[in-house]
């Protein structure tokens, strides 16, 4: 069915999934930190976080990918040259993950910020009054309830990240798109493999929809909806 390119495609699928999941992890961590910074009392922190989300969300992800990906290596070369060290080559996969995570962290920041302020303030104050530490309040009260509000936005962002990973072949990483175009060029049957490529992405997005719906149900435990 794949003219001997089945293995290549399978590796590509695995690379794309790894890339998307690791980028998601980085983006969520940056998003949580960014949302906390945006809601903090310190003005410089708020300014930095606002500048970060405004600038990143105003520029195409592909432009940022090229900008950050190439500049990291050149910047590092200048540092190592100045220190008279040998050139350090950045692992392209790692750089790709960090770049995508950094870009989508801005979108997650906005999602989490909205979710944080949806949790009633009194509950957090009650937690502190019980003598819980800040970390305990976050873990026991804020996080479980915040996830409820954040999930629709997170689901959306995850789909966007998954689709954005298709761009990494442009910065030279090997992924599903690279695998499929290689197969298409090798067999002179580009159309056939591009259809497969689209179909695989469709399966991936549909599968994650299923998982996200399950999660939605889990975090909505105990919420009463109005009868319409």
């Amino acid at each position: 069915m794949f003219y001997g390119y089945g293995g290549v495609l399978l590796t590509g699928v695995w690379q794309t999934i790894q890339l998307a999941l690791l980028s998601l992890l980085v983006a969520v961590v940056i998003g949580l930190a960014g949302a906390s910074a945006k809601l903090s009392r310190s003005t410089p922190l708020r300014l930095v976080a606002t500048a970060y989300t405004t600038l990143i969300r105003g520029v195409p992800d592909l432009v940022l990918m090229l900008l950050i990906f190439y500049s990291i290596q050149i910047g590092l070369n200048q540092v190592t040259d100045a220190l008279k060290w040998d050139q350090i080559d950045i692992n392209p996969f790692l750089a790709g993950v960090l770049t995508i995570g950094f870009i989508y962290g801005a979108y997650f920041t906005e999602t989490f910020r909205g979710a944080f302020i949806s949790v009633p303030r009194g509950q957090l104050e009650a937690g502190h009054a019980f003598g819980m530490t800040g970390a305990q309040v976050f873990r026991r009260i804020l996080f479980p309830q915040m996830m409820r509000f954040a999930l629709p936005g997170l689901a959306n962002n995850w789909q966007v990240i998954l689709k954005a990973t298709a761009l990494v072949s442009i910065i030279g990483l090997s992924d599903l798109v690279k695998a499929a175009t290689d197969a298409g060029k090798g067999t002179f049957n580009m159309f056939y493999f591009m259809i497969w490529l689209g179909a695989i992405y469709l399966v991936l997005t549909s599968l994650s929809n299923l998982v996200l719906n399950k999660l939605n149900k889990r975090y909505a435990v105990g919420v009463r909806g109005a009868q319409l």
Binding site: L55, V59, P60, D61, V63, L64, L67, M190, F191
Partner: protein, 239 residues
């Protein structure tokens, strides 16, 4: 090369002309306007089909929008640009081969189909949220299906879709940066060429990023004015 020298050498290519053809920002905006116009017009028709009670009309539109929203735009562009032209039948049919050989046509086709899928969903949401009393009143007046849509549903739905649609326009502006994959000399293609010539990625892509940022801000500002005009009925009362 300093940033200033790069700007002095390449500002024309970045903004409107690379010496032989339209390029840079002008090309990006032209791509954006064309694909948005086509996508908008198609989405109007498809949205009415999607809310129709006839399954034969609504199901094909649902499948179309599911497929185009579930796959990356880059893959859609690759399929249209590299995939379709590879089919022997297309190469042998003169009209098709002329169309698909041109990267610009392929880019506009891919972008229009993609934005149309998202726009359809936005319009469907707005149409479904229309107060049922308005539709029933229109029916009681004896309006035909077409008059109902033209006078009542679409004017109201399009207004309420404006905030969501403005997001889609910004996302589409950003999405046009993929056009270089079909060899269209858009803003990012110019930036890549400048990077290849100067080996200064930060300057080359930085200039492009600033230009994209400025256009994004201008679009946001224009939509804010449009919302003030067409969504005035939703503005908070008083003051």
């Amino acid at each position: 090369m300093t940033v200033l020298e790069t700007l002095q050498t390449y500002w024309q290519a970045y903004l409107y002309n690379d010496g032989s053809q339209m390029s840079g920002l002008a090309m990006t905006l032209w791509l954006l306007v064309l694909s948005l116009a086509i996508g908008f017009a198609m989405a109007l028709v498809l949205a009415t089909a999607r809310v129709s009670q006839y399954k034969a009309l609504s199901i094909p539109v649902r499948v179309y929008s599911y497929v185009f929203r579930g796959t990356p735009l880059y893959v859609q562009l690759l399929l249209i640009y590299s995939g379709i032209y590879g089919i022997t039948f297309v190469q042998k049919t003169e009209l098709l081969s002329m169309f698909f050989r041109n990267g610009f046509n392929c880019a506009v086709l891919a972008f229009a189909l993609n934005t149309c899928a998202y726009t359809t969903e936005i319009f469907v949401g707005a149409i479904r949220n229309i107060p049922y009393g308005e539709v029933e009143a229109a029916r009681a007046f004896g309006m035909s299906w077409f008059t109902l849509y033209r006078r009542i549903i679409l004017p109201s739905a399009l207004r309420r879709a404006l905030p969501m649609y403005s997001n889609e326009v910004i996302l589409m502006l950003h999405a046009t940066s993929i056009a270089f994959a079909a060899t269209v000399p858009d803003l990012l293609k110019v930036a890549r060429d400048v990077n290849a010539a100067t080996y200064q990625p930060f300057t080359a892509f930085g200039i492009a990023a600033v230009l994209y940022l400025v256009v994004s801000f201008v679009l946001v500002y224009l939509f804010r004015i449009a919302e003030r005009k067409w969504l005035a009925f939703q503005a908070p009362a008083g003051r």
